[in-house]
Symmetry: C2
Subunit: 219 residues, 2 copies
Amino acid sequence: MKKYFKILRKCPLFDQITDDNLLRMLVCLGARVETFEKKYTIFAEGAPANHIGIVLSGSAQIIQVDYFGNRSILNSIEPAQMFAEAFACAEVRSMPVSVIANEPCEVMLIDCRHILHTCSNNCEFHQQLIFNLMKDLATKTIMFHQRIEITSKRTTREKLMAYLLLQAKKSGSNSFDVPFDRQELADYLEVDRSGLSAEIGKMKKEGLIDNSKKHFVLL
Amino acid sequence: MKKYFKILRKCPLFDQITDDNLLRMLVCLGARVETFEKKYTIFAEGAPANHIGIVLSGSAQIIQVDYFGNRSILNSIEPAQMFAEAFACAEVRSMPVSVIANEPCEVMLIDCRHILHTCSNNCEFHQQLIFNLMKDLATKTIMFHQRIEITSKRTTREKLMAYLLLQAKKSGSNSFDVPFDRQELADYLEVDRSGLSAEIGKMKKEGLIDNSKKHFVLL
DNA sequence: TAAAATCTGTTGAATTTTCAACAAAACGGA
DNA sequence: TCCGTTTTGTTGAAAATTCAACAGATTTTA
């Protein structure tokens, strides 16, 4: 487990937890690590929603697929970030979304019931973990607000521009990579892929942006 | 304060809190009640985000207005529900959304810092409140997932149908009221109002739904 | 009660998106 | 390196949304 400490220290779940306590805590929580190949399903829609996931390496995507097969990408999960914590904390029966490995992944899984319900050892760190979960959920809620601000725009160009402006702000630079290929970006922005490609082409011609694959520059 | 107990007991923030403790707690937290007329701003975008709001009577709406004046309605807040808790818990500087009274409202305001940071009295209920906040935030996250499932649909009809199906499920009946007038429903679904009116008319003609004002029936 | 303000439904034109199909480019594996 | 697969850009036609304008209905206010 020790080899994961460097990344786990960055995970908001373990804020304010000393290195000394972290190892014992992981044992007590029954944390385990699993690996997934690219495109493999980490959590399937409909599966029990008991576990919190933490991406240790690689990346994952939260997706919804509707009755007609249309995919929405809700979020991209990078190393040290958590996923499925809302469903585990709300104690819903089953997952309403799927989580897919976007590249080869190492994922730590923790049964959330071990966090929410005090264990027989009566460890004091439960309170800190619950506080950290609360903070994380509040942050996730804000991310959803930002996503809604983007997808509520009515045209492909407005959505893309709103998304790129936010990414530039987050990265602190006008030159940055996005975590999506074209189809994925379209499924995040809720637009048609070919329309998105066309719009990117137009905006390049107009000198608004520069782009090559996943790299974008705001001009 | 006692006159609000009946509704406060239904607020998820006070789950597992005994009536005896509730009054003392409200004093300790510095809770206060304010009233707002219809359409008045409870929290303005850009204002400090320190307070959690609880709707005691009436209802409120969470709205985003973009640069061009386009309004999105993120959520409707009914009595006993909280709002702005995510921003207060995440300790962001200022509100990224506005909260508007949808009808005459009584609102309880609690400075979230009194919940997150233990007070000098060292009351034991902080832990329970933080646990309750975590549960509430998890539930709110799930609500956003549902909203995204609705607004990610590409046509007005699909969005409306997805919304109505969810409302029917929530109300436990095929006959129910929605908390929005036409323009508000359009701003929630992220579609054009006139297009929405036209689509409702078509669906009535096709015998899919019945509707009058805010009342809908799924046939 | 009457007048004013707001809300709703309807229309047609303009804009935009979606859809399907295809070819070029990029990628990955043998 | 070559071949098969995946990704990306491009196109045009069909479908849907948006927009502006207006009239009738409803609600609010004086």
